[in-house]
Structure formats: structure tokens, C-alpha cells
């Protein structure tokens, strides 16, 4: 029996009322003040971050919401058979080749009979989008019986008219200082008085590919491209990243070379993203001869870029699982792999999901590496496969943000809103999964 003959015991156990002493109470008050400060600091942090988000989102939305509307102009178009299909064959080839611009000019001529000079007529046809003749061509292709009739049709207005209607081009400045001249302003007023010009929901934005004309530009191509690219990224980065993390955290012997891999992964996280683009260019395009601008290459490059994020996050999550859980599983004869798959991984899942989300969010918003592999490109056609030329949402945003046309400003913000919509969707899924896996023990 150990002897504890300590006559001095009371020295370390002072008067029993010490926790009610004034000194202690005063100290407690200070501690509580610190507690409050700490809590407020936490709230302030959340508040600050949320405020930033609100400001950012606010500025994006306030700039972008107008892009969801587009101005159109109604014209009575005479689908003159002699003009469209003189032979009367109704051959689609012939119908497609017809000069629909002339139909529009003629129609405008009847609305604005006073415009006789070449310049004025030109000015007037600039009210309509350069895509308007194609809209007519589409109508005729879809319904050849239109030929020979006269019909009131809504045609897309040009971007300048659209901006004017939305108030982004001021009316009360000198004519030389606006892209809509006085003749056009008068024409717009005349159309408005006849209810022949109005704003409606901008479906083009959601269904079309890119275009040089803001009023014809859409982000569907970029959405599809982003989807394909991200699908590849996710399919590669998540399994490879999680596997690598599992290996390093659970199986790898602690040797110099595992340290090397660890350092190396941390280092990759700091490599500027454009360097991954260089890598993609050198290895995938030049060495393996993969196609330029293809989602498959973009996906691989972004996967390499997000890999370190996922690995680091997953390792941190695995590390947080208490060893007693592993012992419990091993102790009843689960193999190390089963231990990891059945117990450790599910417990680490919230952290893994967080890493995946942050990695994917990064990949979803990244432009620079794609520049090197040709995805920063003007691509009109909607990609149909993983090797077709494609672009992605952030690149579309980047290119629109750099376009001179005023109307692209609002579309840039609209595209950002859509991108964020996808992000929120992705996050939503992760929140759901995270909630499923999360538990405190």
C-alpha cells in the first residue's frame, strides 16, 4: 500500500468557499465576458461571411435578373411565295436559302413608310436581331404552308434595342453618345404605341449555345459542357482521391516515401491552376494526342487539380475517426479493408463530402487551366459527347465578361446566377448525404 502521509494536504485545498468568493465571482464574470465575446466573435464571423455572400449575390442578381427577359418586335410578315420559293417546289433546301432579310425589310418598310433613304432603312432593320431572318427560316421550315400568307410574328430585337428598352441605354443623351439613334428611338416609340414591342421570358438564354450576338447567346452549350467535364472530374477525382487518402491514412507504412507522397500532395494543392493546364497540354494533348477543347481532357485536368483537395480533406476526416472503432472491427475478424469500408469510411463521410464539394466547387468555377487545353473557345454547337468541342460555364462567364457588347454584362451575371444555381444544387445533395452520415460519438 502506498503511503500518503501528507500533512500539507490542506495547503492545496484552500477555503471551501473559494468558488463563492468575491474574487472568484469577479473572475467568473470576466470569464463570462470572454465567453460572450467569443460567441459574438463566432456570430460576427458567420455574419461577415454571410454578409459578403449577400453582397456578392445581391450585386450579381441586381445586375443579372434583367437578362431573363428579352425584347421582341412584332411584324406583319408577308411570306411572299415569289420571294421564298419561286418554283413552288417547297423543297427545304430552297426554303432555307431564301432571302428572309428582305421580307423583314419589306415589312419594316410598310410600318415605317417615311424611311426611304438607304441609311434609314438600314437603321431600321438594325432594330431586329441579325438572327431574325433565321427565325423566319425556321418557321417556314417547320410549317411550309406559311408561304404565301401574311402573318404577325414576334421576332427577336437587337441587343441595342433590348438594352434601350431595359433602360441601360439612356434616352436623354446626345444621339452620338448612344448606340440607338434618333430614328430608331422614334421607331421604337411607334412600335410601343402599337404594342408591337415587348419584353418576354428569354428562353434563348437557356436553350442556345454561344453567339456573338447577345440576344442570340445562350448557355445551354456551356451547361452541357460543364456537366460532362464535371462528370469526368467527379468520376476520376473522387474515387482516386478517396482511395489514395485511404491508402495513405490507413494502410501505408510510415516510411520516407509515404512522407514524400504526403508532401507532394500538399504541394500539388498550391500549384497554380494554370500549370495544370500546361500539364494537360503537354501530356494529354501533345503526348497522348487527345482532342483539344474536349470535356474529357478538361475533366481529367480538373480532376488532377481537385485531387489534392479531396485527398487532404479525406485524410483529415479519416484521422478524426477514433481508433477504438477500428479496434472493435478488427477484433471481431473484420479485415482492414472491411474495417475501413464498413466503419471508418461511413464515419468519415461528412468530411469526405465536404472535401468533394469544395473541390467540385473549385472545379466548377475554374477557368485558367482550361485555357491551355483549348476550352476557352467560342463554340456554338451543343456538345454531343465527351470528345466534342465544348466550353464550360465559368469560361462562358469569363468570355462574356470580356465582350464589348453592353448586353453581355447582364448575361454574364445571369450566367453566374445559373452557375451558382448548380452549385447550390450540388451542395443540397451533399447536405442531404452529410446529414445521413453525421453523428457524434
Amino acid at each position: 500500500m502506498t503511503e500518503l502521509a501528507d500533512p500539507d494536504v490542506r495547503a492545496v485545498s484552500p477555503a471551501r468557499s473559494r468558488y463563492q468568493s468575491d474574487e472568484f465571482v469577479a473572475r467568473l464574470r470576466r470569464r463570462y465576458a470572454a465567453e460572450q465575446r467569443f460567441k459574438y466573435a463566432g456570430m460576427a464571423a458567420i455574419g461577415l461571411a454571410s454578409l459578403m455572400l449577400v453582397v456578392l449575390l445581391g450585386s450579381i442578381i441586381s445586375q443579372g435578373y434583367t437578362a431573363f427577359q428579352q425584347t421582341s418586335i412584332a411584324l406583319d410578315i408577308t411570306f411572299d411565295a415569289a420571294e421564298i420559293d419561286p418554283q413552288g417546289t417547297r423543297n427545304p433546301e430552297v426554303l432555307a436559302q431564301a432571302n428572309y432579310a428582305k421580307l423583314i425589310r419589306d415589312s419594316l418598310g410598310t410600318v415605317f413608310p417615311e424611311a426611304t433613304s438607304r441609311a434609314d432603312r438600314r437603321t431600321l432593320s438594325d432594330l431586329l436581331s441579325s438572327g431574325a431572318p433565321f427565325e423566319l427560316a425556321m418557321m417556314v421550315r417547320d410549317d411550309p404552308s406559311l408561304v404565301g400568307t401574311t402573318k404577325r410574328v414576334w421576332l427577336t430585337a437587337s441587343d441595342d434595342v433590348d438594352q434601350f428598352m431595359k433602360g441601360f441605354i439612356p434616352r436623354n443623351v446626345a444621339e452620338t453618345e448612344r448606340r440607338v439613334n434618333d430614328v430608331q428611338v422614334a421607331a421604337i416609340d411607334r412600335l410601343a404605341s402599337k404594342d408591337s414591342i415587348e419584353k418576354s421570358f428569354n428562353t434563348t438564354l437557356f436553350t442556345a449555345g454561344d453567339s456573338r450576338e447577345p440576344e442570340l447567346a445562350g448557355i445551354w452549350g456551356a451547361i452541357v459542357g460543364s456537366f460532362m467535364t464535371l462528370a469526368i472530374t467527379m468520376a476520376l477525382a473522387v474515387p482516386i482521391g478517396v482511395s489514395a487518402a485511404i491508402y495513405l491514412e490507413e494502410f501505408a507504412p510510415k516510411r520516407w516515401w509515404t512522407d514524400l507522397i504526403e508532401v507532394n500532395i500538399n504541394n500539388l494543392a498550391a500549384v497554380p491552376s494554370i500549370v495544370f493546364g500546361l500539364l494537360g497540354l503537354a501530356v494529354f494533348l501533345n503526348f497522348f494526342g487527345m482532342p483539344r477543347s474536349a470535356p474529357v481532357v478538361g475533366g481529367v485536368v480538373l480532376a488532377l487539380m481537385t485531387l489534392p483537395i479531396i485527398i487532404i480533406a479525406t485524410r483529415a476526416a479519416l484521422k478524426a475517426v477514433p481508433p477504438s472503432i477500428r479496434e472493435a472491427a478488427l477484433g471481431i475478424g473484420a479485415s482492414p479493408l472491411q474495417t475501413v469500408l464498413h466503419h471508418v469510411l461511413p464515419l468519415a463521410m461528412p468530411g469526405i463530402l465536404t472535401g468533394t464539394i469544395i473541390g467540385m466547387a473549385h472545379a466548377l468555377g475554374e477557368t485558367a487551366p482550361l485555357l491551355m487545353i483549348g476550352m476557352v473557345a467560342f463554340i456554338v454547337d451543343i456538345p454531343g459527347g465527351f470528345t466534342d468541342s465544348a466550353t464550360v460555364l465559368p469560361v462562358q462567364i469569363y468570355m462574356w465578361a470580356d465582350s464589348p457588347e453592353r448586353a453581355f454584362t447582364e448575361r454574364t451575371s445571369a450566367a453566374i446566377m445559373i452557375l451558382l444555381g448548380f452549385l447550390v444544387l450540388m451542395n443540397g445533395l451533399a447536405v442531404f448525404l452529410r446529414k445521413k452520415f453525421e453523428r457524434r460519438w
Partner: protein
């Protein structure tokens, strides 16, 4: 076997340190305690015994409001310390916990050095202003918990690297380092070997002079050895509370009898 008690019996009336009146505890919809009435006397050791899951730990955690940290836990009834309502406005849980220390069932050393584990409490309560004082507090606490000799050369090593029993003694040392009024111990010796257990029991006996102690134990002998009062819990009820000798030799309730005799009678 019978209760081999070495504790004094039939104590004179002493002031009541803590009091429970009709204490009910719920975990969500599940009721864990069904109205406990209990007086805990000053400078006495009170043992709580009873089968597993009967609510001993739950009750113990009410005494220093550790239940506050459990999400869906609700406490009803009145609990007092020195006449003050524990759940009342006047009492602050932090202050309360400093007055009512706790040692848990599973040893839970902090992921810090052995030294810092002990110094943690005194430091937050501002009990030692100098390095030397702190060193002394740490050494005293470790000595009283009977761990000093084993760890004196490795005070800077992490507390989590100790064996199970060492960890538990570390937690005891940590609790007594802040010299609370009341010490709650939830099976403090379950991970200890007999020598260490004896050491702790001696310590408890010694602490009793200045402190009030409530101990949960599954070891009848231990309860008999260290406590002056014993309360028997069963299925969320406090069946019986009396002088320890009384309980072990002459239980009034048949459930108590059944339990303490078990196959050990």
C-alpha cells in the same frame, strides 16, 4: 460473500450539502429518473449503487448540470447545493461545476501533456499565479491520485499515452487539482488495479474531511469500504438510502436485498 465493511457506522446528524427533491430526468421521451429524493451530507461519502442502466450516472450528472450538454436531456424537480437551487437563475453552471467536480466512467484525458492535463483546471480558475505554484499543484494532485511516481519523469508526454488505469488516475488527479467542494465520481476505479484502487479509496477517505463525495460504484465492497451513506437505484427509482452499514446488513427493500446479496450473499 457478505459485505466486508471497514467504514464507520451510525454517524451523527450532519448538515446537508446537496438535496434532490422529486428529480425526474428525461432523454427525449424516455424517462431515466422517476422522481428522486436524496440528501447528500456534507463531509460524507455517498455511494450510489444499482444495476446497470438504472440511472446512477444520470443522477450524478444532474448534480453538476453535466446533463446540460446532452441535446435532448430534460431535468425536472428541485436540486440544491447549500440550499441554492442548482437549476435556478442564481447558480451558474460553470461555477457549479467548479464547486462540484467530476470523474467520469471512461477515462478521458485531454490530448495534452500529463502536466497540462492537471494544470488545466487550476489555470482556468486562476488558482496558481506562478509557475512554481502550478508545479506544486500538479505534483500534489498527482501524488494524491497515486500517479506521481509513475509519471514524474514524463510530465511532458501526452496523457493519452498512458495505460487505462493510469489514465483514470490522471483524471482523478485532474479533478482534485481544482479542489472542489463536492466530488462526483462515476465508477472511478473500474479501470484500476487493486493497489491503485486502494490508493484512491484512501484518498477518498482523506478527502472526506474537507469535501463531500458522491461515488457510483458496482463494487459492493468498495461501497462498503468508502461510503458512509449508500443509495440504491433501480430502474430510475431511488429505492432506498441509508447508512451504508444499514443498507448492507439490513436492507429494508427486497430489491435492495436481492441486489446486494445477489450470488454474493
Amino acid at each position: 460473500m457478505g459485505a466486508t465493511m471497514n467504514a464507520p457506522s451510525a454517524l451523527p446528524a450532519v448538515p446537508v450539502k446537496m438535496q434532490a427533491r422529486d428529480v425526474k430526468v428525461f432523454y427525449g421521451a424516455k424517462q431515466a429518473l422517476k422522481g428522486i429524493n436524496l440528501d447528500i451530507q456534507e463531509n460524507r461519502v455517498m455511494a450510489l449503487i444499482g444495476p446497470s442502466g438504472c440511472g446512477k450516472s444520470t443522477f450524478l450528472r444532474c448534480l453538476n448540470r453535466m446533463n446540460d450538454t446532452i441535446e435532448n436531456c430534460r431535468v425536472e424537480g428541485r436540486l440544491t447545493i447549500d440550499g441554492d437551487d442548482i437549476y435556478g437563475r442564481d447558480i451558474d453552471p460553470v461555477q457549479l461545476r467548479a464547486r462540484v467536480g467530476m470523474v467520469f466512467q471512461k477515462p478521458n484525458p485531454f490530448p495534452k501533456s500529463i502536466y497540462d492535463n492537471i494544470a488545466y483546471g487550476p489555470r482556468i480558475h486562476g488558482m496558481a499565479s506562478h509557475r512554481d505554484e502550478m508545479d506544486e499543484v500538479v505534483q500534489k494532485s498527482l501524488q494524491r491520485a497515486g500517479l506521481w511516481n509513475e509519471v514524474k519523469d514524463r510530465l511532458r508526454e501526452p496523457g493519452t499515452g498512458l495505460s487505462g488505469g493510469q489514465q483514470q488516475r490522471l483524471c482523478i488527479a485532474r479533478a482534485i487539482a481544482v479542489s472542489p467542494d463536492v466530488i462526483l465520481m462515476d465508477e472511478p476505479c473500474s479501470a484500476l488495479d487493486p493497489i491503485a484502487t486502494a490508493h484512491i479509496e484512501e484518498l477518498i477517505d482523506e478527502l472526506r474531511e474537507n469535501y463531500t463525495i458522491v461515488i457510483v460504484t458496482h463494487n459492493m465492497q468498495q461501497a462498503a469500504r468508502v461510503s458512509q451513506k449508500t443509495a440504491f437505484f433501480h430502474l430510475g427509482d431511488m429505492v432506498e438510502c441509508d447508512d451504508t452499514e444499514e443498507i448492507f446488513t439490513n436492507p429494508r427493500d427486497e430489491r435492495t436485498q436481492g441486489y446486494i446479496t445477489g450470488r454474493y450473499g
